[in-house]
């Protein structure tokens, strides 16, 4: 009888002891898995699980080790004075990083204002405007832009962009403006790639409906597609923000690195990331501990960005 044949349960191996040998020669071997096979499958499954947990362990280890080296500064100065103090003068015992936080935010917001429209525009171009030929040219260019090392961006900013800025606006060319331009270009590939995915995942039927109502291409993009892809684009911008605030090597070369709130957008300034590069070679004692404290702050900021992306996606799912 056919119903006496157990289903070949390969995905979920039956426990060897409970296996029943099927009646009739036709079913011989179908459900029987030797103990060795079963054990091997279980061992492998757990090995894979362990590998997957390496990511979790990685985050925990970073937090533990950086926290272990940086925690004493919180205990000594106090979290409030460390985060809220405006004076960063570590050699004289002033460990306030508020100026650095503000400067990091200034750099990031400016880069977003310049870079996000550029990136979303490029994404719209790739997904809606460009023909297949042009797209095959532009998309690799955007991907290569993501591949250029940040130190090369910094070098490029230092030797080409900085002198131009100095000539046009006066001064030395170090400062917020130069950083904004460099960071804006650096975050374009991140934002463009994810925004393009979001635009592409809008069903074609919606575009056709819009055109059928007599809307132009631009009206379709502005009133239909961008609102529909809103969640994905917000995710992309938050990710770009994370990239900008954590960027170090490109910023350190064009920021000028003075630990004050910059006096205008062409004056030198220091951020959370660049203070580490500048001070690490000579820092000792509490100063060094404070730099690890800055790293903890950066780590927590980047975790907040990741968490808010999750939150936005979840809200988007609930609303949509």
């Amino acid at each position: 009888m056919t119903d006496s044949l157990p289903a070949p349960s390969v995905g979920e191996p039956v426990e060897p002891g409970r296996q029943e040998t099927p009646t009739g020669s036709a079913g011989e071997g179908l459900s029987t898995i030797s103990r060795a096979t079963y054990v091997r499958e279980a061992v492998l499954r757990n090995l894979f699980l362990v590998c997957a947990c390496v990511a979790v362990a990685g985050v925990a280890l970073i937090f533990l080790f950086v926290g272990w080296r940086g925690y004493p500064i919180f205990a000594k100065v106090g979290i409030g004075a460390f985060l809220g103090g405006g004076v960063w003068h570590p050699t004289q015992g002033d460990f306030g990083i508020l100026t650095l936080i503000v400067n990091s935010l200034l750099a990031t917001v400016g880069a977003l204002v310049l870079g996000a429209p550029l990136a979303v525009g490029t994404a719209v171009f790739l997904s809606e405007v460009a023909g297949p030929r042009v797209r095959e040219l532009v998309r690799p260019a955007v991907e290569l832009l993501a591949g250029i090392p940040s130190v090369v961006y910094g070098f490029f900013g230092l030797v080409l962009l900085r002198p131009i800025v100095a000539k046009v606006f006066g001064g030395l060319g170090f400062g917020l403006f130069t950083v904004w331009v460099i960071l804006a270009v650096m975050i374009v590939p991140t934002i463009a790639a994810i925004s393009e995915d979001a635009l592409r995942s809008v069903p074609d039927g919606i575009r056709e409906a819009s055109y059928a109502m007599g809307a132009t291409k631009w009206q379709t993009i502005w009133r239909v597609l961008l609102p529909a892809a809103k969640i994905g684009i917000i995710d992309a911008i938050i990710l770009g923000m994370g990239r900008a605030i954590g960027e170090t090597m490109a910023v350190v070369m064009v920021a000028g690195n003075a630990p004050v709130i910059p006096n205008g957008i062409f004056a030198p300034f220091l951020t959370l990331t660049t203070v580490i590069v500048m001070d690490m070679p000579y820092a000792a004692g509490d100063h060094r501990t404070a730099l690890f404290g800055v790293a903890i702050v950066l780590f927590i900021i980047s975790m907040i960005f990741v968490a808010s992306i999750r939150l936005v996606s979840r809200l988007g799912r609930e609303v949509g």
Binding site: A55, V151, L298
Partner: protein, 283 residues
């Protein structure tokens, strides 16, 4: 009235599409400007004496071979450490895992790891491997720190590659009586290989261009490391130091060009592999 509305509608459309074209042109133009500027200024440097020579003097005249060797060494080592762990982790997420708290924790951790600023990763490497375990500035310490950076990239691309393998291929394998591991190892992973290789190469390109992680784990000493316990100076660190001193700019341009060529080489290889495998699938 109606015709005026239509004119304004078409005009807005044309203008707006023009702005979108402009955005794309600026993006491509930025890449073009950077590449062209580095190539024009660096191409004269690329002589065998520069590539294979050793630097000497206070201004680092001569070649940059030790930095090339250090870069290739640490990247390869990091790749060897990351790849097996990342692939097996992706196999778990794509084939074995059931949606739940554990999986969402793993994904959150991978996303967090991917967005940790590289300077934080550098200080972590310094605290954990260089000083914590006592490896000192060394290739292995840098490779370990870099592998945390590469892990989420390889994990994500591998998981996508595995998910892109059609379900019916798996059913065929199960139908023949294969176990889960047999199906994964002999059917799924081989068909996902091109895209997995692409992910590994892209992450290696990222590691080869990384400065902030490596400077705190491998140091800045000019050295051609042979053993993984030796220190060295990678190309991005060399470029940063040359640029900051600003005395030997020709060498800086040469290093920048070689670095860009190396990283673009990784990227183009990855693209080539994907394209070839796509063609194979269409046939």
């Amino acid at each position: 009235m109606q015709s005026r509305e239509r004119i304004s509608k078409t005009l807005t459309n044309t203008l707006a599409l023009g702005v979108i074209w402009l955005a794309a042109i600026v993006t491509v133009g930025a890449l073009g400007t950077i590449l062209l500027y580095i190539i024009v200024n660096g191409i004269g440097q690329l002589t065998p004496a520069f590539i294979f020579g050793w630097p000497h003097g206070v201004n680092m005249e001569g070649g940059i071979w030790p930095t090339i060797q250090s870069t290739l060494y640490v990247t390869t080592l990091a790749m060897l450490i990351t790849t097996p762990v990342a692939i097996l982790a992706a196999v778990y997420l794509a084939e074995y895992a059931v949606q739940g708290r554990l999986v969402s924790t793993i994904r959150f951790a991978a996303d967090s790891l991917a967005s940790v600023p590289s300077i934080v990763m550098g200080l972590f490497g310094l605290a954990a491997f260089v000083e914590g375990i006592g490896m000192g500035f060394s290739v292995i310490a840098a490779a370990l720190a870099l592998s945390f950076l590469m892990l989420p990239i390889v994990m994500r691309t591998t998981e996508e590659a595995i998910r892109a393998v059609p379900k019916y291929i798996r059913w065929g394998s199960y139908g023949l009586g294969a176990t889960k591991w047999q199906t994964v190892s002999r059917i799924v992973l081989p068909s996902a290989t091109p895209r997995i290789v692409t992910g590994v190469i892209l992450s290696a390109g990222r590691a080869a261009g990384e400065t902030a992680v490596v400077i705190y784990t491998m140091g800045t000493m000019i050295n051609a490391p042979v053993l993984p316990t030796q220190p060295g100076r990678v190309m991005p660190v060399h470029l940063m130091l040359l640029a900051q001193e600003g005395i030997n700019l020709p060498a800086a341009f040469g290093t920048a060009l070689l670095l860009v060529l190396m990283v673009l080489g990784f990227n183009l290889t990855a693209r080539y592999i994907v394209r070839r495998s796509n063609k194979g699938m269409q046939r």
